[in-house]
């Protein structure tokens, strides 16, 4: 029997096997979190190398070719392999608890999604050791990438194809989980905001990843099998890639930022000790941002020559997004307004987030103005804008939520003092790095250049920017140190660590047993735990059923093997253009492994198992002492 809760002494092999086969959403959440953190560190290191290269003019710290590879891998890794899994980590760990579910709707697919993502990411990173990383930017525009020598772009295409499939699977899983597995009484309009934003961003994944898959597939057959979708000399059209990429790429930004909004919408009411202001407008703003996110992709392409009509339509649509986003910002401010504010580490991240994100939003509206965008396009102004949105919006949310949810996820606390130090080092470093880049852009410094001439007025700003980047690096290292220190910390062993929790996840005593709720809770309103607390309910929740047997899914190694199959097939496809004899057999072998696992899975009925009442009572006593979770 698997259990996240008890630290029974088990051997290393057994623990490893447990993690390789687990379908438990909490364990997968932790795995997503640490995999994301690993790639966050790698991409952050690449960013540091980029900033060291740009620290002084005419620098030759890295070569131009390596610079292109670093810049491409920094962008690709941060968006696909760091931010996405970190947020998926929180979604996995928290959303089922927030809606009162025992697990996600498809635990097997949850595990498959993780392993596909992880092996796809691994495949992409192997490019560094196997003849050069992709070097056409994270957007990989076809007119550049089709002619990139070596295998870099092939690694990009295949790696993202595999990890994208994993993301799509996880997205579908969350949609089904949130729609069908809410506890009794948890109506749509009682769902916590993080659950709402997870639902909407999963819906965006559902609609946005297929265009990316199509685009990557076209690129794959163009580069590896001699098709001509993007080759204009053969009747193709290179602009099609740009459209397909941005049809995916713009919603991708909202896929990342909406859960970040959701995390702050959880953090702020807890520490303002006040109900979230304008809950229903928050929900509709989320839906509206999600919908409008699909109607604006061409604003990345104003200068490709779409014509004035198309530019005008997309400019107006883009500006319209500022309206629901503004609603959200005002709602957060009004939640804080008049609250009995307790400043803690998560709260200070929230307080830092609001002005930083608004700054990024304002420059976004500036770029939405198509005529102005002709001036700003491909300059450092753009770099400053999207880093303000991504670091100021998403990374602060991830760091804040790390502190906020650490007690639930790991039953430990992150050090508060060190947390403040990390915040200030990181926050000041972030503004030093990116604020001046606005002006570098306005002074004409183009993005994606590996060096620049001295005495154009850029030297000082670039130097300060690099100092800021080093501060951000120190901040991240200290955060990891804080995480490591927490291993030795005292176990929390209580519910509602922050004292003012409102939603259902705080009603659970940590460590959370593997079945989450021994009895499914009954939801009697928005902020269910707050309601129960105020009515003096010592157990934190009203139950919707008597204590009984719990039906749980079995673990399985198949997801890992299926993903390894795809991983092997990718190597065959990668070396196919070289004309090696083994490429097709390797593709067949890899896909064969995957298909064999699928067949095995569909013929072997796995109906899960029941945890019996007596076992539950025994486990609860072991975890919480006599009387169990009371």
């Amino acid at each position: 029997m698997s259990s996240v809760a008890i630290s029974k002494k088990t051997g290393f092999g057994a623990t490893l096997w447990d993690y390789l086969t687990t379908v438990d959403h909490k364990k997968l959440g932790n795995m997503y979190f640490f995999a994301g953190l690993l790639f966050f560190a790698i991409a952050g290191f690449e960013a540091l190398l980029i900033r060291i290269q740009l620290m002084v003019p005419n620098n030759d710290f890295v070569s131009a070719g390596l610079f292109n590879e670093l810049l491409t891998m920094h962008g690709t890794t941060m968006l696909f392999l760091a931010a996405t899994p970190l947020l998926f980590g929180f979604m996995n760990a928290i959303v089922p608890l927030q809606i009162g579910a025992r697990d996600v709707a498809f635990p097997f697919l949850n595990s498959l999604g993780f392993w596909l993502f992880f092996l796809g990411a691994l495949f992409l990173h192997l490019s560094f050791f196997m003849g050069g990383a992709p070097d056409a930017g994270w957007t990989s525009y076809a007119s550049l990438s089709l002619y990139s020598p070596g295998h870099g772009i092939d690694f990009y295409v295949l790696g993202l194809q595999i990890s994208g499939a994993g993301t799509l699977i996880s997205g579908i899983n969350f949609i089904v989980t949130i729609i069908t597995m809410r506890a009794p009484g948890m109506t749509f309009m009682r769902m916590p905001l993080f659950t709402w934003t997870t639902l909407i961003s999963s819906a965006l994944i559902l609609f946005a990843f297929p265009p990316l898959t199509v685009g990557l597939f076209f690129m794959l057959v163009d580069r590896m099998f001699g098709a001509n979708f993007f080759d204009h000399t053969m009747g193709g059209n290179t602009i099609i890639w740009e459209h397909l990429f941005w049809i995916f790429g713009h919603p991708e930004v909202y896929i990342l930022v909406l859960p970040a909004f959701g995390l702050f919408s959880e953090i702020i009411p807890v520490f303002a000790r006040k109900r979230l202001f304008g809950y229903s407008s928050m929900v509709f703003a989320t839906i509206l941002i999600g919908f409008l996110g699909f109607m604006v992709w061409a604003h990345h392409m104003f200068t490709t020559g779409l014509g004035p009509t198309a530019n005008a339509i997309f400019a107006v649509a883009t500006m319209a997004i500022a309206v629901p986003t503004g609603m959200k910002v005002f709602n957060w401010i009004l939640t804080i307004w008049g609250g009995s504010i307790k400043v803690t580490v998560p709260m200070i991240y929230a307080l830092g987030f609001i002005p930083s994100f608004v700054a990024g939003g304002v420059t976004g509206v500036m770029q939405a103005t198509a005529p102005l965008d002709y001036q700003l396009h491909d300059s450092y102004f753009i770099v400053a804008h999207f880093h303000y949105v991504i670091v100021g919006g998403i990374v602060t949310a991830i760091f804040g939520a790390t502190h906020f949810y650490w007690p639930i996820m790991f039953n430990r606390v992150l050090n508060e003092k060190l947390g403040y130090i990390v915040f200030w080092v990181f926050f000041i470093g972030f503004h030093l790095t990116f604020f001046l880049q606005h002006f570098l852009g306005l002074m004409g410094m183009p993005r994606r250049v590996f060096t620049y001439q001295a005495d154009q007025g850029w030297d000082l700003y670039n130097f300060i920017s690099s100092i800021g980047a080093i501060m951000m690096g120190i901040g991240v290292i200290l955060l990891v140190v804080n995480m490591l220190l927490s291993i030795k910390g005292k176990p929390v062993n209580q519910r509602d660590y922050w004292g003012d929790g409102r939603s259902l996840e705080w009603a659970l005593v940590t460590p959370v047993p593997f079945y989450n709720f021994k009895q499914t809770p009954l939801i009697r309103g928005y902020d269910p735990y707050w309601i129960e607390k105020h009515e003096g309910n010592k157990e934190g929740m009203t139950y919707a059923e008597p204590l009984g047997d719990i039906h749980m899914p079995h673990g399985s190694i198949l997801p890992l093997i299926m993903s390894i199959g795809m991983f092997i097939a990718a190597f065959g496809a990668l070396y196919h253009p070289d004309g090696v004899s083994w490429s097709v057999p390797v593709i067949i072998l890899g896909i064969g492994i995957t298909v064999a696992c699928m067949i095995l899975r569909s013929f072997k009925d796995d109906l899960g198992y029941h945890v019996h009442k007596e076992e539950i009572i025994a486990l609860e006593e072991e975890l919480y002492g006599k009387g169990g979770n009371k």
Binding site: R102, I175, I179, T180, A203, L206, F207, P211, N237, I239, I240, H243, I247, F291, F294, M295, A298, L306, G307, A310, F517, K518, Q519, T520, E545, P546, L547, G548, D549, I550, H551, H610
Partner: protein, 113 residues
Amino acid sequence: MGHDTHVQEKSVAQYEFNRKKNAVEMRKQVVNFAIMILFTFIAFAVVVADFSPYFIKPVILLLAGVQVALQLYAFMHMGEKKAPFIGVINTFVWLGAVIAFTFFLCFLTIIWW
């Protein structure tokens, strides 16, 4: 889920009825799947056989139209009126249609012409 599991015995008639219904459903799925494969094959065949473009284009578009309808009604169960969360499902399908239409419009207006 966590209730003391309540098992409802099915009557023989109910069992037989479900069995027949499932068999019919399965047959439909397999037939539709075969039709999809056949259409795809025809689409490839007319191109490989080097017919006149004035023949190929309408035939492929027609087949594609039928495939879209089959996809929606046979495989995505658009025809079913009663299902849990049918409202949510329909919302998703129509939203997807609206979004896909935007892309379609974009390809027709600003990419190819």
